[in-house]
């Protein structure tokens, strides 16, 4: 009996303790959370913000350096972020760089000539510094960037938004995201790409490849330096104008721009001029001799020079074709194609 009383007393004590603890716990219970008021803003329309070019964080300064090089030096400019670039050939075996209101730069000699010991491959890059819209950059920038190189030099340039002018060197390779490119007196080859800008080539020779996304391409007085050097010009939305281009292999195409060719038809040459929507005008000497094929859709075909037509299909439809020959005995081939524009062959004035 005494044991039963003891057990009961112990049980009641524990029950009271637990009950007290439960009530105390409930009293401490936090109230249900109030939902925070979050204002959901309406979505902003998707706007493509153009990427800003890397701009200097601090005002620039003038700097000038020069280095003695081999006469056949290759010069690489891996990045030019902004400015007006002018590369000019001179009759000295020396590279001189002048930057007006820009950053400092360095020459890096990548290779030396085993015979003369002079640099045959140098790189010109800016001193790394903080830019406003990007990470640390080795890009060269300046209001005016003037580079004098040996006339036999080969130059390779990549740039963002620069206006470039290259004159009197052996070979030029240039790629820019935006900005116009002018090349003059290039002796042995051009490869130029402009994302958004015009390309102008004047008095140059060699293999020429020009490409622009939305810009125009103008070429005056170009020709091969070796037999078989090709000429290629391509733009998506710009016009192409070629005057006195003596290459025998021409491949010219535009999607929504016009194509103009004024020059001679070389023996054994191949001239392909295409556009989807635009006119093709070709001015060639009256006594040119070649085979010709003109394909057009919703435009017209007209020739001031008589054509000996061999095949013709000008019935109603999206594609019309005229094939024949100009002159007598010509082995050059002219292919003209405009799906939605006129094709005109005119006599070139002497």
């Amino acid at each position: 009996m005494k044991k039963f009383i003891e057990i009961t007393y112990r049980g009641i004590t524990i029950a009271v303790i637990c009950l007290t603890a439960s009530i105390a716990g409930l009293a401490q219970a936090t109230p249900p959370p109030v939902r925070p008021k979050i204002e959901v803003k309406p979505p902003t329309p998707h706007v493509v913000i153009p990427r800003k070019p890397a701009m200097p964080a601090s005002p620039g300064e003038n700097s000038e350096k020069s280095i003695k090089v081999d006469r056949d030096v290759n010069i690489t400019l891996p990045c030019i972020s902004r400015g007006s670039l002018k590369v000019t050939g001179w009759n000295r075996n020396e590279v001189r760089v002048f930057v007006d209101n820009g950053n400092k730069f360095n020459f890096t000699v990548s290779e030396k000539s085993p015979s003369t010991g002079e640099p045959v491959w140098i790189k010109i890059s800016g001193v790394p510094g903080r830019v406003r819209y990007g990470p640390m950059s080795e890009c060269l920038w300046g209001e005016d960037i003037e580079i004098d190189v040996p006339v036999n030099a080969s130059v390779s340039i990549k740039g963002q938004d620069i206006t470039s002018r290259i004159d009197s060197i052996r070979k030029a390779e240039i790629k820019v995201v935006g900005g116009n490119i002018v090349l003059r007196n290039i002796a042995n080859g051009i490869a130029a790409y402009a994302g958004q800008g015009d390309i102008t080539v004047e008095s140059s020779k060699g293999s020429i490849s020009l490409e622009s996304t939305t810009g125009n391409i103008l070429v005056f007085d170009a020709g091969p330096s070796d037999i078989g050097d090709p000429f290629r010009a391509k733009t998506n939305g710009g016009a192409i104008s070629l005057q006195t281009v003596d290459h025998r292999q021409l491949d010219v195409s535009s999607i929504s721009g016009s194509v103009t060719y004024s020059g001679n038809i070389r023996s054994g040459g191949s001239y392909n001029l295409r556009t989807l929507q635009g006119s093709i005008r070709m001015a060639i000497p009256e006594k040119s001799a070649s085979k010709i094929s003109a394909t057009y859709g919703f435009g017209t075909f007209r020739s001031e020079i008589p054509i000996n037509i061999s095949t013709e299909n000008i019935s109603e439809g999206p594609v019309k074709i005229v094939g024949g020959s100009l002159g007598v005995g010509g082995d050059a081939i002219i292919r003209l194609s405009s799906n939605n524009g006129s094709i005109t062959i005119s006599k070139k004035k002497p």
Binding site: L19, S22, L26, P32, I38, K41, S256, L276, T295, S337
Partner: protein
């Protein structure tokens, strides 16, 4: 045996290592000089080895002695003294709840406490969901033809403001609507697949499809607004030409000129798509 020879007890103690250090040295010196004592030591060692080998199993069996028990008990008490509070409490509770009556009382209290906790923490039902008159009926729209529907991806514009009264969200299904820019190339590629290809056309279509998938992600970031407009214009022009030429070739399969223009247009499209990739590569190389 010499008169100063060692006694057998001393030899046995020497062998067992029970002699003090000074006596061990003396016994060692004597054993070096006295052959009989050395012989006696050898005999004792032989006997010991014989006995130990015979009783090895018994010797290796651990028999706790009273001293060992004392040490074990001391260690337990020391450990008990170092135990943390919660372990002591746990031990106390384990002892206390050994009684069935205590277990029953505690279980009852825990059940009552849990029930009280659940009842007190129940959220009040929102006013608009408390009572719905049975007379209210929701108008049901007329049945529409069955269509294959895809769930609408929730967009920020569709989200409700957070300060509204929370409601039960129902899944909303609508026909998937895609922008023309996203579907232009793949849809046309699929159309061409279903319509069959001319000779050499399939490779063009496959190339364009793979390029288009890449370019779709790039063009927004690579092309500037004016370039983007020109790109879309040129793409539309190329697509229009492809469609017209395909139609013409389908109508007149012998029209080689239409085929040439068609292939040329495909090439234009590839060039157009490549121009975006080319620019992306240039921009990336300048970073």
């Amino acid at each position: 045996m010499k008169e100063n020879c060692l006694e057998i007890g001393i030899v046995q103690a020497f062998m067992d290592g029970e002699l003090p250090h000074d006596q061990i040295a003396r016994v060692s010196d004597h054993l070096e000089r006295c052959d009989s004592c050395a012989f006696m030591l050898g005999q004792a060692e032989d006997e010991a080895s014989l006995v130990f080998s015979a009783l090895d199993r018994e010797f290796n069996t651990l028999v706790p002695t009273q001293r060992l028990w004392t040490k074990i008990n001391d260690s337990i008490e020391t450990q008990n003294g170092n135990r943390p509070f919660w372990q002591k409490a746990q031990a106390f509770l384990a002892t206390a709840f050994a009684s069935p009556s205590l277990v029953g009382a505690a279980g009852l209290l825990i059940a009552v406490g849990a029930f009280s906790l659940v009842m007190l923490n129940r959220e009040p039902i929102p006013a608009d969901m408390v009572s719905v008159p049975k007379s209210m009926t929701v108008p049901v729209p007329d049945a529409e033809p069955i269509r294959v529907l895809e769930p609408v991806v929730s967009s920020p514009a569709m989200e409700t403001t957070a300060d509204e009264v929370p409601r039960i969200q129902r899944a909303v299904y609508r026909p998937q609507v895609q922008t023309a820019a996203l579907t232009t190339v793949p849809e046309r590629a699929v159309t061409a697949l279903s319509n069959g290809y001319m000779e050499g056309e399939e490779s063009y279509v496959k190339t364009i499809s793979s390029l288009a998938r890449t370019v779709e992600d790039q063009k927004d970031s690579v092309l500037r607004p004016s370039e983007r407009v020109a790109y879309e214009r040129d793409m539309a022009l190329v697509d229009d030409t492809i469609a017209k030429m395909r139609q013409e070739v389908k109508r007149n399969p012998r029209n080689e000129s239409a085929k040439q223009v068609l292939y040329s247009s495909y090439q234009n499209k590839i060039d157009l798509l490549n121009s975006v990739s080319q620019k992306e590569e240039l921009v990336a190389s300048l970073r």
